[in-house]
Symmetry: C2
Subunit: 401 residues, 2 copies
């Protein structure tokens, strides 16, 4: 009899986006003449940089000719040209990574979800809360024990470690989804020291690093001393270059990084991850890698930077509006997310309904990202200037009443 993995039955159904969709549907049915302004979904809206599109077309054309056709990628870890492009990108903000330590993936979500495979069930996992739901769900699926570190108003939604808490694997995301908070180098150093004191591994999600404009803030955990002995970094071109529909990311595993057998023998994490990928992954589409590598050329960087500037102007306006209205928030600087405290003591869902009904603006209730999100709300900067300005105008009128 085929047995299901019963850990899947312990997963909480994530009703968040289903609930949102239902409420929107009901609203639209009752108000067919009203136009909604969507500021809820963490997806980009601007097109791909021309340099990337041209590189993809060229890659596609190469596949049409016997002389330039590419079949299986030998390593499945990414073509050298792509791994070197990522290493060059790291170098541009002062971080040295060997191209051989970089593995190209079809996106941060895949690697972030699959990385749990290589760690035993007997690990205790520490996740900051609120968080991107994949961290929790992938660990529930593989039967691991989960602890939470509270990110809240007191710590600026940037949880710090408690030395009295023991754990083996730690998830950090900075700039944070959903809270927009960014760890300083000093804060990350505390996490690194904590991880090393426990022989723990940090899984560091840097998917939003391209939104960091304050040069004193770290864009990689490897900007911090000691991180090479305790951290994996997972990043993506989804937000850096609008690749949500193109699918390309990268994972950095330093050669020094070890995990342990039950009797304490050190095992290379990189070696085990490569073994996993060697059996369960066959590399990223060649034309997609061509497009991704083009993002890191001079033209590509200039073009993608201009899209990020565009989004950051939205974030600036949202932050300014919150300031004017006296609303507490994190993010909005160095992040495409504004994480705001629902005004007048409203709950997350109450505020969701209030904005929907009164000003037709759609955001995301913070409690969908974990218990510490209760009473908070996420708005994204990925819309158009026009819609963002209109939404902020309506918000001001509504809350100043």
């Amino acid at each position: 009899m085929a047995f299901i993995n019963e850990n899947f039955l312990s997963l909480k159904e994530n009703y968040l986006f289903i609930d949102i969709a239902k409420r929107l549907e009901a609203y639209r049915t009752a108000n067919p003449d009203k136009t909604l302004i969507r500021m809820g979904i963490g997806d980009v809206t601007l097109p791909i940089a021309p340099a990337a599109v041209e590189a993809m077309k060229k890659g596609a054309e190469e596949m049409a000719h016997k002389e330039t056709f590419r079949g299986y990628e030998d390593s499945g870890r990414g073509y050298p040209f792509m791994r070197e492009a990522v290493a060059g990108y790291y170098k541009s903000f002062g971080v040295d990574i060997d191209p051989d330590e970089i593995l190209i993936s079809d996106g941060a979500k895949s690697d972030c979800g699959n990385i749990v495979d290589i760690f035993g069930e007997n690990n205790t996992v520490l996740i900051t809360d609120p968080a991107y739901p994949v961290y929790v769900d992938s660990n529930v699926m593989s039967g691991k024990n989960i602890l939470y570190a509270a990110s809240n108003e007191e710590n600026g939604f940037a949880a710090m470690p408690d030395p009295n808490v023991d754990c083996d694997i730690i998830y950090l995301c900075s700039p944070n989804n959903p809270t927009g908070s960014v760890y300083t180098k000093e804060q990350l150093k505390v996490w690194v020291d904590y991880a090393k004191s426990k022989n723990a591994v940090i899984i560091f999600d840097s998917a939003y690093e391209a939104f960091i404009r304050d040069e004193t803030l770290p864009r990689s955990i490897f900007a911090v001393d000691g991180a090479r002995e305790c951290a994996i970094e997972i990043c993506s071109l989804s937000k850096t270059a609008g690749f949500t529909g193109m699918r390309c990311g990268y994972t950095v595993i330093p050669n020094e990084l070890n995990a342990y057998t039950a009797d304490g023998t050190a095992v290379s994490v990189s070696k085990i991850w490569r073994r996993r990928q060697g059996s369960k992954f066959n590399g990223v589409s060649y034309p997609v890698q061509c497009a991704a590598a083009a993002v890191f050329t001079e033209d590509g960087l200039r073009q993608t930077r201009s899209s990020i500037d565009y989004y950051m102007e939205n974030a600036r306006l949202m932050a300014e509006t919150c300031d004017e209205l006296g609303i507490s928030y994190t993010g909005g600087k160095n992040s495409p997310y504004i994480w705001l405290k629902c005004p007048n003591g409203m709950g997350s869902w109450e505020f969701f309904d209030y904005l929907l009904n009164e000003i037709q603006v759609v955001g995301t209730p913070g409690e969908g990202f974990g218990p510490n999100g209760k009473g908070w709300f996420r708005l994204t900067a990925f819309g158009s200037h026009e819609n963002t300005a209109e939404a902020m105008k309506r918000l001001k009128t509504l809350l100043k009443k």
Copy 2:
């Protein structure tokens, strides 16, 4: 302390292709003037169909404009146009699949490797031997108990079930890699009845279905009555359309298919797989899906068919050569592989060295695919006509001596 998944340490290092590479390197160093004919690697060599390339370029161009840009794919299970194209393809050989039962992946290897996630550790897995190494490795990684069903000369390298053997999950591949054998409808029906008698799930790898030319042979397990209640089918465009470097495949999970909790409660396999993919996968690149869907258009099918015809002419010549030489083999018809018995009682590696040294032809030692491959040898039809003809000429001269 971060604990490694110790199941990974139980994996046999797969030295097969490393060993081959070493022997080739040594040969080349000693014989720099000799040109090798490679008939070992299961990768295609002909370029992608023009229809697919054009569709990919068009998809890429859409990504360059705000009006046609695509971000995250809502479901991550494949765009409706792609799932409908696959359903139409199934219909063309008489199998009805609802597009909603089709999930688009970045290749058969990913789904084949990841599917183990959704089944508990307490399953006994039955794998025909020899086999594609991913079946064994992915189950070792997840700590499952493995049994083998011997494919051998007596059964034409098409193992059949033993009703006295209990198992929960069964891997079948037809046309088979590496042996080229193809199950008849009657044989598959025996497997389906066996699986149903055990409430087991068959994972059916149909990656080579496009090479079947005998219309009485099933191109899908769903051509067999009862398969919808016991089978998952995993397929790929890698061999169908030369997509080894493009990366697109599909998995079919019928709505009726269940697995069970320890207390015998039925759980929908499709529902659990979607939950897994929802947390660990974000869909296939939009331009890649455009290319893949174009494979199933009239032009695409004609163009890809012509590549398969080309390879099958190689297979025909190889089979003819074996017939002439009185060498036993399977495959060569309805399959791009010839699986031959090493002549004169030679071992797999002995024959490898013999062909390399005497006629500079490179194949794959059968024992690399499992114990029942000992004394057998795989040749592939994916080379050029010229090289294949030359290799067969040399083989005849060598073995007729």
